[in-house]
Symmetry: C2
Subunit: 206 residues, 2 copies
């Protein structure tokens, strides 16, 4: 039963992922849980339960086990955050204001989740990074993609290539650090300050 996503009418009864294919439900559950509990803190059985899938399905789709699943979860978080970042960067004609808007958006999302959903890549990759090169490289690619979005936005606004390269680094890193502090302190302030400072820093390069 339930071989195609469309026939999955009763999957994840109350979840927002109902109607999705089994594989996709597993990836989303893994991403969400690892974002909140970290790699080691999340069990495969918990993931399969949350995804309304069985252990057999998990290992069918991810024969590489927990590490492969974590890699896919990081990629999912990567795409998710990249989408939000792209939207925010395009929301304002001025790139400095756009970065500040991105910071405010991250802050609002974090608060909306009751300070539970921090950076999906960070939490997943932190403990296991040393052991599993696949996980670490997936995380590195995520950061690289996000920097690329900022970089391209700055280039389009007329910034020099070298400045855009360095600013992209600091924009992403500062957002990352501020989100972490905001999560632990349960306050939007670090992210809002970061937004203002990043805008100021970007403006100083015109």
């Amino acid at each position: 039963m339930k071989t195609t996503p469309e026939q999955d009418h009763d999957a994840a009864a109350a979840g927002p992922d109902a109607g999705l294919g089994t594989r996709e439900r597993i990836v989303r559950a893994a991403s969400r849980l690892m974002q909140r509990q970290g790699y080691e803190g999340t069990g495969i059985k918990q993931i399969s339960r949350e995804a309304n899938a069985t252990l057999g399905s998990v290992y069918h789709f991810f024969p590489g086990g927990k590490q492969e699943l974590a890699t896919e979860a990081i990629r999912h978080g990567d795409r998710e955050f990249a989408g939000m970042l792209r939207t925010a960067l395009e929301s304002r004609p001025d790139p400095a204001e756009a970065v500040a808007a991105a910071a405010a958006l991250v802050a609002a999302d974090l608060r909306a989740s009751d300070w539970l959903d921090g950076c999906p890549v960070t939490a997943t990759s932190l403990g296991a990074a040393a052991n599993a090169p696949g996980i670490r490289s997936a995380a590195a690619e995520a950061f690289e993609r996000w920097r690329g979005l900022v970089h391209d936005r700055l280039l389009a606004a007329g910034f020099a290539a070298q400045d855009a390269h360095e600013l992209a680094h600091t924009v992403i890193n500062t957002l990352e650090g501020a989100e972490l502090t905001a999560q632990i302190a349960r306050s939007e302030e670090p992210l809002l300050i970061a937004g203002r400072h990043l805008a100021r820093l970007i403006d100083s390069y015109r």
Copy 2:
């Protein structure tokens, strides 16, 4: 046997913690291991083994179990980083240069550990933060102390109170995020860029 630190002649045979009291050895081992593997990724038995202590000793000194031990480990990492930060901030007469020096110092330490030792507080508190309020508050206090050091340094250099408050936030958060990226990318570049940008940002407030 081995009741006082001084008589602990054969403890931790090859370790640098030899000669310390049992309690202190346990805290240091916990701090180092959780820094690298996270809270859930580190077992109590591994800590006791690494500290040349027994399980009984661990629960004797930390009857609150793993959570109490993690709280103490975070406080240890807090003091450790605060010491380094204070040294760096006092190393230059100019506060902007001092912050850049701190970033370079963090980068050098990170590379020296083969990219293994990231922020001791972050890794320990990330997964378990939601469940254990004691752990989260210890982490929040650590960040607050570090911000305080930067804040006081800026005040002493004549910055306005509000500017110093906000700059302290961003200095710590950017260092935090840049260290994370540097660790994952195995490159000092993010931290060196962060140092330059933070100096530039500080200078813009004069």
